[in-house]
Symmetry: C2
Subunit: 231 residues, 2 copies
């Protein structure tokens, strides 16, 4: 296991220690969450945690959780106790860009429904300003997507159809993803609100003011970053 | 043909007279648009209009337009010259509630892409304040829909799952519709912005500041209402 994988493993293990017996847990997606799921499944199998259920945010997570023996339920109206998910970029204020995995719409539904939303990542995901490395993924209807891309461009970004026009990537919801390249330090709240208001846009990968905590693993171990909105 | 049908027919015929040869036309959905499509097909067949293509906003409109010999294309990045669509409520400012037909997401994409967006309706659709008669349809992902319904409720509306839980209505995009009952005179811009920002919401039936003109047919004939944003 190289350093990067070890850091992801450490972050996932640390997140599993946040789960309490009886919790309903939102299960994010991606390579770091995978270690969280494995730790959670292990604790359940060992009987150290009981009466824990999960709400998966992607088909891949659903399959993995099922294989690990984590009971799954649909997202109830009351939301979940805790949600754990990865991120592609995390700012000092714990704003995040997510969605390189393509599950952003479901991930955001679950994150917004969580009493406590925790990001897990290795240290390479920390940035000073959003947009330094990752594009903002925007999920759009395939109907009229070229027009939607033009509207996104008018918001100041460079949208790229994920997968290309010949064989475009399709989300679990059957939609397309436009990866929008923005300048580092762009006005994230303004872009988020404008994109939310565009017809044809289902959602985007900006998770602003949502995370309560981030567990970030690096050579110094796992550190916990708290946000002002932390419960 | 009863009065209501005759009014719809008159509005549809009047809208067809707005089409010019060479136009790319957004084709709305619903019972009034049907008469527009029939008039458009007739003019094309008679050679009075040439080089006109349409962008359909629903499968039903697509089938009907095809049967009427109206050439169809995908929505291009440049948008359309003219879009014609029905409405469930039209306010004096030409704000509208649409989507009882369930095609609201595609209808809004096309309406927003139109150089000129024209509503067609019989006089019964005119209201003093939005919400007097029609609920606001909100298209949502089936994933987590109970949570999304709870979030909509917190915005002050009473969401009802269209079709019921046993056999819910599905949009052309495979999503669900929550019909949100609001008080007449509710704050439509605030509700629209809040709903747009909810994860799980694809779009809603509030068309605010979008229509340039409304062709409304009643016992006094067809009247044209213009909005401040009319080109």
């Amino acid at each position: 296991m190289n350093d990067s994988e070890r850091f992801k493993w450490e972050a996932g293990e640390a997140a599993a220690r946040l789960v309490r017996s009886g919790d309903l847990v939102g299960l994010g997606s991606g390579s770091t969450v995978r270690y969280f799921l494995e730790a959670l499944g292990r604790e359940l199998a060992a009987g150290k945690l009981v009466d824990v259920s999960g709400v998966p945010t992607s088909k891949r997570t659903e399959d993995l959780a099922r294989a690990l023996g984590i009971p799954l339920v649909e997202l109830p109206a009351e939301g979940v106790d805790l949600a754990v998910d990865g991120a592609d970029e995390i700012s000092p204020a714990l704003d995040a860009i997510k969605g390189l995995g393509g599950a952003l719409a479901r991930e955001k539904i679950v994150a917004a429904a969580a009493h406590r939303f925790v990001l897990v990542a290795d240290g390479s995901k920390r940035v000073e300003r959003l947009g330094e490395r990752a594009p903002v993924p925007v999920e759009v209807l395939s109907f009229g997507w070229k027009r939607t891309a033009a509207l996104l461009q008018s918001l100041g970004c460079e949208p790229v159809l994920r997968g290309g026009v010949i064989e475009p990537f399709a989300t679990d919801n059957g939609n397309l993803v436009l990866d929008c390249v923005l300048e580092a330090g762009f006005d994230a709240p303004a872009f988020a609100a404008a994109a939310d208001g565009l017809p044809g846009v289902l959602g985007h990968g900006l998770f602003l003011g949502m995370a309560h905590e981030a567990l970030v693993a690096g050579s110094g171990g796992v550190i916990s970053l708290r946000s002002p909105q932390s419960p």
